[in-house]
Structure formats: structure tokens, C-alpha cells
Symmetry: C2
Subunit: 457 residues, 2 copies
Amino acid sequence: MTALDDGRAGAADRVARSAGLGAEGVVSLPEFRAWFAAAATRARARVARVPLGGLDGWAADAATGDIRHESGRFFSVRGLDVRNPGGATEHWSQPIIDQPEIGVLGILVKEFDGVWHLLMQAKTEPGNVNGLQLSPTVQATRSNYTGVHRGRAVPYIEYFLDPPPERVVADSLQSEQGSWFLRKHNRNMVVEAPDEPVPVLEDFCWLTLGQVHALLAEDDVVNMDARTVLSCLPFHGGDPDAGARHSTTGVLSRITAARARTDIAAAPVPLASVQRWHRSGAGELHHESGRFFRVVGVDVATQGREVRRWSQPMIEPCGRGLTALLVKDIGGTPHALLHARTEPGFREGVELGPTLQCTPANYPDRAAHRPRFLDAVAGAAAGRVRFDTVQSEEGGRFYHARTRNVVLEVDDASAPDDDPDYVWLSLPQIDALLRHSHYLNIQARSLVACLRSRPAG
Amino acid sequence: MTALDDGRAGAADRVARSAGLGAEGVVSLPEFRAWFAAAATRARARVARVPLGGLDGWAADAATGDIRHESGRFFSVRGLDVRNPGGATEHWSQPIIDQPEIGVLGILVKEFDGVWHLLMQAKTEPGNVNGLQLSPTVQATRSNYTGVHRGRAVPYIEYFLDPPPERVVADSLQSEQGSWFLRKHNRNMVVEAPDEPVPVLEDFCWLTLGQVHALLAEDDVVNMDARTVLSCLPFHGGDPDAGARHSTTGVLSRITAARARTDIAAAPVPLASVQRWHRSGAGELHHESGRFFRVVGVDVATQGREVRRWSQPMIEPCGRGLTALLVKDIGGTPHALLHARTEPGFREGVELGPTLQCTPANYPDRAAHRPRFLDAVAGAAAGRVRFDTVQSEEGGRFYHARTRNVVLEVDDASAPDDDPDYVWLSLPQIDALLRHSHYLNIQARSLVACLRSRPAG
């Protein structure tokens, strides 16, 4: 049986079987490494930092200062004015990436010897510290696959544009970084290939989910786009409320309450009008505190991409991020602690983030506003750390943006149930929420993918 | 047992029991009518049309022309520039109501003699053709319950501001009219009252769901706010996919696909800049075609409200609306046909509307663009019409806005499964979607409440 006529429970069974096969699939992990190394050799890329004013094809709008491509497509860097009464900062303005089109992040799956394999891509992005990473089968903006890039066609896109419903494993719109992207969401898809053979192009490789999970334990290998799609895979087919600390009705009510409580208003404004951000001598846009991020320019020359040379603005964060998910068993059922977060680019004002999401360098001492659980994570005993790997954020928009992802096992005393903005969800409940849009932010989804790659035991 | 410790299935059982009691509850229907008539006498109101320029406390912004209250609160009438490539109209601008705060629409429920009763309110709104209608227990903007109105406190709001999770029956953010409201959503809540007695104020009355269903069959009695909250009640506790034409995964994928396909961009612009809209001699804002709606002003004087005198702008639609839900049994399971609709004020671009949603007067002949299913509904045999009642839209913002709500039973031939923008959902699937935000638009939710009030057979 290959079509999903046995429903979500059947899909969850197939996911579990694929996750259980960690070493040998269509290729072995050593064979994968040889293929990946060869792809890295083919994908030689040169990325040069250039002033924002010198980006080929990009210009600052005379009236607003917004940085736009001359075609009017791709994306722009605009200003955002944010009011968040009651928040730690009640009013600020900042640059933000505006890319209203919805892209496709899709993983094609297919059974080999009765086990689902995922068609993964070796893809170079200019922002990646190491150039090549493992990406979904398809990772394409609408401009990509409708040809605005005037580049090569997007391989395998045909499997995702109008899939028969019975071959869809997961399909939802999910947000991206709410501090850097304005109301951005992409279509996260997992689609089962039809029975006929699928040609495998040079930069693509079939891996079991177990193999992908093994690679997630390595720094900067599985890219952000892959991690968010992986988080949407169904792992549980049954009643999500069985053994859960809170009913799903109660969880949804908490999320609704957090959204209703939050009075955040974020309105686009001219980039030239943002306060406390300045153009440096190097032609980069930075906050006067030196914190948050910089808007920088890059020239890119590569062989392995749809287009061989281009320039673009990127966001370069100041300091490495730290995100952590606290996990514990409640009555024998594993739970993770999610945190209702406000970010200015969220479409719904609030999404569930990880237990901890911050840039530690912004909190050099134990002053006020130090994020809850930062000390618990920073000082955790090694024996309680189930996962600890540095992963990259999206390398097409973010320059050398890296985040340490930690999964930390805790006991009841160190993570009490005392704040309405924090909620313990069972893993099946997380699964069920991820069928829908805008419940978990990108950092939480990335950690969910990491958590599932390292089951308790 | 009164707390919801038996979960959603238990709540659905209680809803069914309450729906089954159509005549006698705490009060009989004749007693209800006497109480409602008395409330109408108490709630004498005078609503006078006045020019937009003469509204007390409201003024057009000198720079933008936006109509705002001098306090900066309540709501404003702004302009909206809409681009919808591939739509019937690809570019237009229009006035729209901007009210970013999230209000509460809440129904309190409580067991009497083992049957849930709903605490309904007799409430006068200036836009209602008949003044008084039956509203939820609480129908309050944030300005209402935080006191910006400087009026009386909102009765019963304390049950909804921080309810214990085990007493929450339903709690989600749901959109309102996407052609008239900019990204508006309200918190739709059903909360079970604690065991202690709940004092019943003069304008409030406990009714069974069966009694409310009986009143839904009458024109302009159960208001829009009540209908949307009713639509969020759980009617089904089991597997929503049992007997359904499409899997929920497939349905969610269709919705995601419709959202990804839609390239609508709606940006606020100065009201003074909207094209083809003009201020009439009577001080009203209208489209040069005479179609769509007018922005009008009213002075209100009433006894039964929080504030006794006020002025405000309102939207007055041109022509009565017609909405219809086509229903049929598929393999013995009742299904309804939903239509993926784009409206400029939707936060997600697309929501599921009823099978048909239009203003028939805009389509006087069988020319192009006549909405699909309009002729089927207009010419339906009486024996196939299960529900046919005129209901009012929200009387606090819309002036004499009325919609004929039709539920029509069809056979396979008259409603084929041939268009990706139309999807047959089983009633339990509709239930399951309504636990979440922004899947069904207000017109669809209203019809779902009507449909459930008149089960097949």
C-alpha cells in the first residue's frame, strides 16, 4: 500500500518505521557523506560583503528609503513601527523583510523496501557559514518557480503544485522568524510520490527519517527549511489528549487568551523613518546599541544554483541565538514546555515558541529582564541535556545566523506550572497543533524536529 | 457532573441534550416571549441618520480623511487598496472599518435539571431593523469592558476574562465580515458557569439550545454575535473523519492550496484616496455605481445600553444579502458544501464561506460573473429548502444589514465535486475546524448554526 488510504494513523506508522531505520536505507550514511562531499565540491560559491548602496539590481526608494529590487519582486527591506503596550519594550521601530508571496517548502517521500525515504537536497545558500546544507526536496519562493529569477526550473516542483489529496501527508502554512520577517509564512508540505519511479538528480538523495535524524545531531547540516517541514510530519495517530496534562480545548483557550491579551500593533513605515538605526561606514544598517541585527549586502557567485550571480540584502544577527525546550514526563507521558511569545512579524500576534528563545549576549549579567529559564539552560547538568546542536537559520535571507538548539530534561521542581504564558503540551498535542497554521513558531518547530530525533530512553 | 472533566465528547453529549429540549426549559417559549416583549419596551431607542460630517466626537483626519473618534479608540473608517491578480476585479480601493482590538463574544452555560442552558441577552443595537435582538451573554469590545466608553460595566464579563480551563467549552478567534472589516476577529467563547448560583439580570434569560434553535427559525431574532458563538459549540465528540468524503488532511491541504494560490494584497490607504467613492449631499460615502455599501452616520439615544447617547459611523449595505449552504448525504453521512473565498479583510486571504454568498441585486441578469449556485438557490423547490430565514448582521457596526440564510438539500447531479474551490465537509469535520481560528467565515458560521438547528429528517 502506498497511497494514504489508511489515514493519519497509517501515515504515523510509516513515519515511525522510517525513523527507526537510522543507518541503512537506499544509501548508507557513509555513502551519503561521500555524495554530500562531492556536492560541496560542485557547489563552489563565493560570497562577498558589499555596501547596501552597491547591490546590483537593488536600490533604496527615493521617498521611503525602502530597499527594493528593480523588478519589484523577491522581497524588500522596509521599516516597521511596533507598539506593544505592557511589553518589555512598549514602542520601537526596526527594519524588517517584507516578502508577501508564499513559497513552497516540500519533502517528497517514497517507499523503498516498505520504508518511507525522504528526497533531500544538497543546497548552497549564501548565508550558510558552511555553504552547503541539507534542504527539502523543494525550497522555492513563488518567484523561483514562476520564473521571475529567469533561472532554471525548480526540480520536483510538479509534485507539490497540485498533489492528489490522498498523497498529501502534511500541508500547512507556517510562520518564519517573527522578528525579521513581516507576516511571512511558507507552505510546508510532505507529499508521497506516485508509484512510478522518480528520477534522482545529481544534488538529491533518498534518506530514511532515521538517517535525517542522525544528521540533525551534527552542527549546521540539516537546514532550517528541512527542519520546519520535518516538524510537520505526523508522528502520532491516536487521541492527542490521552495522557496529556491539559485538554486540547484548554490549550487552545490558553493560546486564544494570550492572543486576546496581547495588544501589539505593527505597521509598516518608511525604512528611512526607523529610529536609532544608522547606515555604517561599511554601508550596513545597524542599531545604535550594536544589538539585534544588521542589514548587510552580499554579492554571490555560485555554480550549483538556479542563477549564477546575484546580489541581495541579508539580515545578519548580532550574536548566536539560544533556544531550548524543557521536557519531562507527566504521568508517564512525555511533555514539552512551550512559551506564548509575541513577535512583531507574527500574523496572529502570538505563537508558541520554545521554553527559551533569546540571544544570550544581550544579557551579560543577571540584571532585570533576563529571560526565564536562561540560567537553567546555561547551567544544566550534561546528563540532563538530551540534544545540543548548533543549527543555521534560513541561509537565503540570514547571513551566518546560527542558533544553539537544546532539549533539556527537567523535574517538576525546576519547571513549575505557574505562568499562563507557559504551557506543557504532550507530544501528540504538538503533532495535532502542527496540522494547523501559526501555532508553533519556527524556533519551536525546529526544536520539535530535534526532540523527535532523540527519543527518550 | 458539571466541570468538563469528561472532555469534548462529554461536552458534545451535553450540547445534544440541550438541543433536544426545544419547548420547556427554565422558562417556556411563551414566557420567553413575554420577557422579550418587556425588554423591547424598556429598550426604547431612537436612531437618527446624520451626515458623517456632523457626528459628535468623530472627525475626518485632516491629512488622510480617515474618520476617527476624538479619543483615538473604538474604531476608524479608513481606505483599503486591494490587488487580487486573477480575481474577478484585479484592483480596487474601498472604505473599511479598522478596529484592531479583540472583543469578547461569550455565552455562559449552566446545568439546570441536568440540561445545559445558555444565558442569552436582550440587546438593542442601532443598526438592527427591529432594535432588540437576542445576543450572547457578553458582547463587548475591549473598549467596552476596559471602560473607554465611560459607561456601565459589562455584566458577566468576569466569567470570560480568566476562566478555569476545565470550564471552557469553546474559545477561539473568529473573523468577521471580510469585505467590511480590516483583519477583524473576536474571541468566541462558551464557558460553563461555576456551581454557585448566577444572578440573572433583567435583560438576561436562561434558554436551552433547543429553544434558541426554535428562535433561529424566526427572522431577525438571534443576532449575528449569538450565531457565531453558537457555531463554535461542540456537536460531535468522535473521529471527524468517520464517513467523511475527504480526509481532514486532504481538506486542510485544499485550504492551504487555496491560500497559497491567492495573491491578494490589501494595504490601508488614506480614506481620501479611495477611487470611485464620493461624499453625497446627505453626507454619506457611496460608490459611484450605487452598489456595495454606504458609510453613513447615526445619532443614537437609548435607555437600555451602557451609554445613553452617542454618535457613530456605520456601514449600510446596498441590497439584501443571500447566503446558502448546499447539503447532502454522502454514504449516509450529512455533508455541507463550503467555498474557499477571498475577502480583502481576511487575515489569511482565504476562508471557507458558504456555498453561495452574494447580493443578488448586483446580478440582475444572467450575464457573466453571475455567482455559481445562485440560480440553483433562487429556483429551489420548496420541498428541498430545509432552512430559510432572514438574519441581521452585527447591529453595532452595520445599519439595516440583512441576509437571507438558506440551507438547501441537493442531490449528486446538482452539486458535483468538480472545482477545487468547493469542498464537501462532513458536519463533524466542520465542528473540528471551528475549534481553530479563521477556517470558516462569519457567513458560513451563521449558516452552520442554522443548519444544526434543523437536523435532517
